[in-house]
Structures are given as structure tokens and as C-alpha cells.
Amino acid sequence: MRHLLDTASLDRPAIEELLTLTDSFVEVSGRQIPKVPALRGRTVASLFYEDSTRTRLSFETAAKRLSADTMTFSVSTSSVNKGESLRDTALTIEAMGVDAVVVRHRSAGAPHRVASWIDAQVINGGDGWHDHPTQALLDCYTLRQRLGGLDGVRVAIVGDVKHSRVARGDVHAFATLGAEVTLVAPPTLLPPSLAGWPVRVAHRLDDVLDEVDVVYLLRMQQERMTEALVPSLREYTAGYGLTRARAGRLGPDAVIMHPGPMNRGVEIAPEAADDPRAVIVDQVRNGVAVRMAVLFRLLGAEGRTGSLGADAPTDTDAPADTPADADAPTDADKESSRA
């Protein structure tokens, strides 16, 4: 049984295949009736232990556009409040008959654990500081749409990298597709070790602004202020915010990205967020099509053997790091070739 648990386990062919598949779903989403019967009879459950607007709605929309049935679990109105464990909740949902479960959890590794407990296919909808693979894919797709590809594209990921699952996923995906990634953050907002990260590091945004094609601003998590990792929001903005002046220094073909939700006036000035070079709304729009591609790739393949990335871990496995299985046929089954 296969899942989409992390970005690191997707190799370049696997990512490119998904991005190509996304093209088809962008076309579907643009139709007058943006719905196809591809996953009719399948059920996709959302298991969200954290607040989410984009990811949850995006997965629901994606599933519905593929004619799948959806089940939404929200922790605030569930038996978790009565003490039910993650494992029991997952088994309960599976017992109702689901084909795929999208897991969002505050703890890194939760989707891996869920995948080891149930037979349904598991998609990581964001876990702790670990990873957010569908965000990475939609960011890759958005950049490919705007720039034609990522080979040699210089990307600066700016802000709270330490606590950002988006940054971790994007670094791997961008680098896998050939981009040159620079992390820009104060030392307090970088992970303690960057060993194995395919990145360069800069501590001043102004030093890299003139030599990047893409500025990816991470959300400044206000709750970090209590940890004294930055002196004040005002100082953070002065050093790392994409102010109107800094946006003015970017080239005419530069791309401004943000995973949302934005703190306008903190990591990104309102003028920069609404700049024609910003693709923030495109990221959300593409999120639906990318998630349609992921669901279709996992559920729409032969005997539910679609594969994306790592094998299901066993109970004792750490998050897997195996390359994606790129052997599955990618050819529509034409009548002319049917034996």
C-alpha cells in the first residue's frame, strides 16, 4: 500500500508526472461544470487535528471535483475531546470504509503512524514542522506555470524556516527540480542543523534580493514572539519583510510567493502581496488541481496500487526516505491497443 507522506521521497520523474497530470485538472477546473466521474464510489476522509482553511477546503474541493465522497473530521467537534486516541480515530474512520485519508496534525510523523495502522491510502496534509508535500507540489506547479520550469531558478525562502513544514517540503521539491535554494533568516529562525539540506544560507534579505528570481515569504508565526526568537515584529519586518521598497528592487519577471495565511504588513507589505508579480492567489487555485492529481494518482490507478513516494512504514519505521516508484504505467489505455 502506498501513500504520499513526504516530499523527500518524491524523485524528479514522480514530481514531473504529477505536475503534468495537474495540467489536465487545471483544464477540468476551468470548465463550466468542473467535475469528472473519475473517482466515483471512492471516499476521501479529512482527518484534521489542526486549524486549516486552504488545505482542508482544497482537498475537499479536489475530491468532490473527482466525484469522490468526502468525510470531514474536525477535532474540535469529535470524540478526541472525550480522550479518543489518534489510532482509534483512524481505525474508526477506516471501519466506515474510506479509500484515502488526508491527515493534518501538529505532531511530525503522525501521517506515517496513521499509514502504519490502516490499509487506506494516507496523504500528509501537513505534520508539525516536518513536511507539507501537497503545498510543495502546488508551489512547484505555480512556478512551472509562471517560469516554464525550475532548472536554474534562484529561490529565496525567507523567514521562520525552523518551524516551517512548508519550507522543508519546498526545499526538497525545488531542489529536486533543479532550483538553487537560499534560506534567508536570522540564526534563531533556522534549524539547528542544515546538514543534508541542498541550500545556501543568508542572514540578510537585502544581500540576496538582487540575485533571486523567486522570493518565497514564510508566515511569521506570531506565537513565536513569546519565545523571544526575534526582538519584535517591527524589527523582523525591517530585516526580513518584503516591504514596498524591497519589492521595488526585484526584477520585472520576479515571482513573489507566500503559502498563506499572510500577515500583511509583517512578512509581506500589502503592496507586495497585491503586486502583479505575486502568485499567491495562483498558489491557492493550483492547490485544488494539484490535489486532484494526487488523489487521482493514488486512487485512480490499478487496484489501488498507485504509488507516490515512500512505502507504508511499519509501526517501528521512521519516516521513510526511499525514492518514488516511477514504474507505474502512465499511458491511458487506448481501445486501439487493448488486447
Partner: protein
């Protein structure tokens, strides 16, 4: 392996071995020319006709058919493309992935759509195509043009314009391309 052979043999594996040349390059051109005349005759001109090729085997035939119609009527009808991967009833039985993006004009209401494919076999692709078209609007009529009708229908679907009727065994493979049509087998 040539791209054409890869298309034929996946997802089954093995190699396509042509045994019989059914039509040569000129035969294919003549068949398209004849079908174009039949399309004009059937529709009393090309007023509301839209040609839609099924991805991927029908697309080049649709383009060639439109070229022939242009020569006959001095009007080139609009040509669209349709991928029916999301509409097939065998998702889950076989791996199905889209081959290319669908491109259908915005408004097909009231138009006559001529679906074009290379081979008509069980009819399941055409059933899927009818479902897909329905999502784009309500054509006045849908007609079907195929280069080869190889029989073995599993649904009540029949073509309106046929390049060649070709009796086949179920386990044979028909390969249609601009250079000709071959009948053969898959050798594992």
C-alpha cells in the same frame, strides 16, 4: 522501442509485431477524403459542425479530416481534442492516466459534434466520450468517425463514418498511423 510501439504495448508489456498491412499511406488518405465527403453530405455543409479528436489516436485524424473538409467546402471547421481518461469505467481495473489536455470550444450547445477516433472496438471509449461531451454542453447531434471498426462491441454504439471495417480476433492489435494501418499481435 519507437514511441508508437510504446503507445501500443503499454500497459501490457511485450512488443507489437505487425503481421498484415491493412491500409497503406494512400489508403489512409483516401479513407479520410471519403469520410470528409460523407460528413459534408450528412450535414448538408459544415455550418455547425465541430470536429473532436479523441486523445491521442484520433487527434491527428481529426486534423486531417478538417483539412479535407477545408479543401472540399473552403471552410475549415473548428477542431477540438478530448481526453476521456477521467470518464472511463475501467479506472481501478486498469491504470488510466490522461494523455493530453482536453481542448473543447466553450460553446457546443446546438452544434453537431463529429467525434473522431482511430479504432472502434468495445465502444467504451466512445461511451466515455459521450459522457465527457455532456459536461461541456448539449450538442444538437453527435456523430462518430473511425478509421477502423474492428468489431467486438460491448455497448450499443455504432459509427457513422468508417474508414474500413476490419474483422479481428480479440487478442489481435490494430495499429493506426498516418503511414498506414497494421494488424498484428503483442509478443510478450
Amino acid at each position: 522501442m519507437a514511441e508508437r510501439e510504446r503507445r501500443i504495448t503499454r500497459p501490457y508489456g511485450g512488443v507489437f509485431v505487425p503481421r498484415t498491412r491493412v491500409l497503406d499511406r494512400d489508403d489512409v488518405a483516401r479513407a479520410i477524403w471519403r469520410m470528409a465527403h460523407e460528413v459534408v453530405e450528412r450535414n448538408h455543409g459544415l455550418g455547425a459542425v465541430l470536429i473532436v479528436g479523441l486523445q491521442t489516436g484520433g487527434v491527428w485524424i481529426a486534423e486531417r479530416l478538417a483539412d479535407a473538409l477545408d479543401s472540399i467546402e473552403q471552410v475549415r471547421p473548428e477542431v477540438g481534442a478530448l481526453d476521456v481518461a477521467f470518464y472511463r469505467d475501467d479506472i481501478g481495473i486498469r491504470p488510466v492516466l490522461p494523455e493530453a489536455v482536453t481542448d473543447i470550444p466553450e460553446d457546443i450547445d446546438g452544434r453537431t459534434v463529429v467525434l473522431v477516433d482511430d479504432v472502434l472496438f468495445t465502444g467504451r471509449t466512445i461511451r466515455a466520450a459521450l459522457g465527457a461531451l455532456h459536461d461541456y454542453g448539449r450538442p444538437r447531434a453527435v456523430q462518430l468517425a473511425v478509421m477502423i471498426d474492428r468489431g467486438h462491441r460491448e455497448l450499443p454504439i455504432r459509427p457513422d463514418f468508417v474508414g474500413k471495417n476490419l474483422p479481428t480476433r480479440r487478442d489481435e492489435i490494430v495499429d493506426v498511423h498516418a503511414d498506414g494501418v497494421d494488424l498484428g499481435e503483442l509478443v510478450k
